[in-house]
Symmetry: none
Subunit: 140 residues, 4 copies
């Protein structure tokens, strides 16, 4: 058997709070999702004004980042026309997100979960996701 470490609900609350604070700072209400290392949802919130279409996108960005142990913006590059992973954005029924805004949460070199953000521009989504991670890493 193997032993894995993963985010718990308290951790998810810290990630959410860090992301929410940054979203408020830049004035963009966001959907924010936290998954554990198995890709399963731990917590989610849609800030007032966050987009309805972003609910699933935020969840799937987080699923992708934790499950693939990779930022969705890395897939953005790798899935361009002609690039090696072109077309992967349609995988897993469209759950494999290549739009920036999904980041793995890594502690001691191990992916313990993910955060996915959606409703702003992809650059804003990524920025807000990073703020969640920064807030979390500060508490360790």
């Amino acid at each position: 058997m193997m032993t894995v470490t993963r985010l718990d609900l308290a951790d998810a609350g810290i990630l959410l709070a860090g992301a929410r604070a940054r979203a408020a700072e830049i004035g963009v209400p966001m959907c924010i999702a936290i998954t554990d290392e198995g890709g399963n949802l731990v917590a989610f919130e849609r800030m007032d004004g966050g987009k309805v279409t972003s609910i699933t996108i935020a969840i799937d960005k987080s699923f992708t980042a934790s499950g693939a142990k990779k930022a969705t913006h890395d897939y953005h590059t790798a899935s361009q026309p002609g690039a090696p992973a072109y077309g992967i954005f349609a995988g897993i029924g469209g759950r494999l997100m290549v739009v920036p805004g999904g980041l793995p949460v890594t502690v001691n070199g191990e992916v313990v979960g993910g955060i996915g953000v959606s409703s702003g521009t992809p650059a804003q989504d990524r920025d807000v996701a990073q703020a969640g991670i920064d807030a979390f890493l500060t508490t360790l």
Copy 2:
């Protein structure tokens, strides 16, 4: 045009906290979902130990309760063999939940959202969902 009243994220936090407290009291870690009156997810949390299979079920119970403006336990009765809504549990790709634990949140006679709970027995799920609503109504 029409104006609708719906739960915001602060309301969802109160509903979550009320449900979480009751879940802790009975010792059953739950998945808890809050949707607005359009059936769209506002907030979700999986307490540590909550079931992975309950993520979607909690969300869909809340979706059903807010979207149909009806408790899922009412559908439980109405969907029995021979009853008028028999078979409706397979509707919307299985999202129409007839298992108790989904309740509409009603204010001044209007449904403003829903709460869905899963991981315990259906009776426990319903009890915890009700505790969320009780906590919320106290604040109005």
Copy 3:
């Protein structure tokens, strides 16, 4: 953060071998799936003559047992007409299996994964799944 223990691929091989041996003994070629405690597939095999329709059913039985920490035959009872969880078989897009043949794998009181079997009668499926677990527990 939390630490969880789960099945690895070597464990899955032991579970598969135990189930396969029992399936051969009773002369029913089976589909056999092993998931980890997050409900994610670790290993699968369809014995020669196993049913094509049983591929997804075996995987989903294992997903249900590990994710819900409960045997699918418990849901069989709980989801009968009039029973508390009636209708739950349509949940999660139909992935929530209530047909016997899905068992959680429990070590030291913790669910570390699941096994799902399909192609025989539900009683045979359950028997073969149990044989997989028995073989695994012997090695601990």
Copy 4:
């Protein structure tokens, strides 16, 4: 009526072993799937550390390769913007994979099944899939 030749479970075990050995050699834990000529799953394994998101992708690469009798890297080329099969990656609910790593298994000019690999770079996935086929062809 027609008679078809297809991979059996013993063949699948050889393909898996060949791919697994190569994956270990290059140090990339992989998800590996084997399908028969009908596109139906025969065997699957996720090596310890293989990606959760790669479970479905490996299965769908193998499904595509055996069902379409074509390597997924051939679709990679054919589905580029302006190319004849552009957009086909969204087909079959996203199951039609155009990312390299899916190969048909061909014996005496007939496709008897497929192998799909995922978790590495597309080039690594293809390399590991080929190693599975090489190991299998050696035994004929």
